[in-house]
Symmetry: C2
Subunit: 278 residues, 2 copies
């Protein structure tokens, strides 16, 4: 039996009760695809993790050591979803971070679930979440463990018709989905909401920004989103997902998201066969 | 050896790696004094915990069962600090809460540390934190596990001269300390910042609001705080703490906080002898 969870490098299924990740959400995580032992976006995930450590004033884990853990938990899996969790580790009671912090790393693998083939091909419908994202520049962009806003937002709908939910900030401006970033093509420009006040700087988002050098990070208002010619989501797990409906507004799958899907596949990401025939 | 940590009613020192409290901070906690097996503010803590469960859409734990856990971990301690943690429990990957959630309860006791006798008698100095609290009505008031703002704020100072830090919201309005609530006497009125947009509705805060029926919950601005005749903090662990300095502004210990200290002692809370002679 291959252990699919390693904690501080050892096969384990539990973490210390006094870990600050549990006590305060004092830590970070990354979720990534691993294909036959290879993580195509590894360096982007490691960059974001390092940036998160810097922002939270935590020591950073050694990417080489994390990589060894990933290889171990993914053994025998062709296509895995891996979650890396890095917390400040065990500490005494109270908010003051221990100095120095020991850190705790958890690496867990699971087989990649089946992709939503119809969604990838024809687009998905978004639920409009009432939960708003708070404006907090100190925590924006990084993938920290304080995720109650996302939990509350995802709790709002149970209808399988909605593959994701649209999340707006406190001012009602669209920012992202519950677990994906948002892009829109408006007046011929590729736009994505800025993530310096809330939201997460997704790894797949960064890829798309790299592919389209003239894409812009903007503050978007809700009515403007409806004027888009194309809307899509990006996720390091689910890839590039066209949006076909938000409320009464419907979209066709557009050329930019199709180009992103082709680029995504070119990274070696397994992709539904249906795409080849569209 | 008495186990000072119980998890789901069993002596244990670890929690499941897949617990949502660790994954997303998806849960709540309470920190309380337990004096020879008796928790003077038990019902207030249980009220807040139940309210938190309602707000997060989680099942609520049975207070009787929690009470049994508390009694077990506190055996042989005259004066203990107990932390109750209640999470949504283990769940599959993803933000969607499992339905139904199983919940996970952790109860941990430690001997009460020595009180800051000088601080109780003469007042404490507050550090002015640069970290701002985000405005998030969906999470305000409850004591949830998403505490990175408090961790970052508490990380700002290391000088033992400051016993606590003043936390303001995004608009620069004083709200609380990192782990205590804030009161001020201004123009003869007892005021405390409202906690419906950020901050925690502290149990000791609720006590004080009950003692002074005409106390008001308000939006306070920073310059107005300096006009106060008296400023003090409230904490269910540390009790009633006069503030003697914030920045250049100095205060004498005032009559309202002294009255609160007397009431606190009357609840049976151990209290420094020095107070008796002031």
């Amino acid at each position: 039996v291959i252990a699919r969870v390693r904690i501080d490098g050892v096969a384990a299924s539990t973490v210390p009760a006094a870990d600050r990740g549990l006590a305060y959400g004092d830590g970070l995580f990354e979720t990534l695809r691993v294909l036959a032992g290879r993580a195509p976006l590894w360096s982007l995930h490691m960059d974001r993790l390092a940036e998160g450590c810097r922002r939270l004033g935590m020591p950073a884990p050694d990417p080489q050591v994390l990589g060894d853990d990933v290889a171990a938990v993914c053994e025998g899996l062709d296509d895995a979803v891996v979650r890396l969790t890095w917390t400040r580790g065990v500490g005494p009671r109270g908010y003051a971070p221990p100095q120095p912090a020991t850190g705790m790393r958890m690496v867990a693998a699971a087989p990649m679930p089946a992709l939503d083939v119809v969604g990838v091909a024809q687009g998905i419908e978004l639920f409009e979440c009432a939960t708003r994202l708070a404006i907090q520049p100190a925590l924006a962009g990084i993938k920290h463990l304080n995720r109650l806003e996302q939990v509350l937002a995802r709790h709002e709908w149970h209808d399988a018709r909605y593959a994701e939910g649209l999340l707006c900030d406190m001012h009602g401006h669209p920012v992202c989905a519950t677990a994906a970033n948002l892009f829109a093509v408006i007046d011929g420009e590729l736009l994505t909401p800025a993530v310096d006040r809330c939201g997460v700087a997704g790894v797949a988002r960064r890829l798309v920004l790299g592919w389209f050098g003239d894409a812009r990070q903007v503050e978007l208002d809700r009515p403007t989103l409806d004027t888009a010619d194309e809307v899509f989501l990006t996720s390091s797990i689910r890839g590039m997902l066209p949006v076909r409906a938000i409320g009464a507004r419907r979209w066709q799958v557009g050329p930019i998201v199709r180009a992103c899907q082709t680029r995504w596949r070119d990274l070696g990401m397994p992709w539904p066969v249906i795409l080849e025939s569209t």
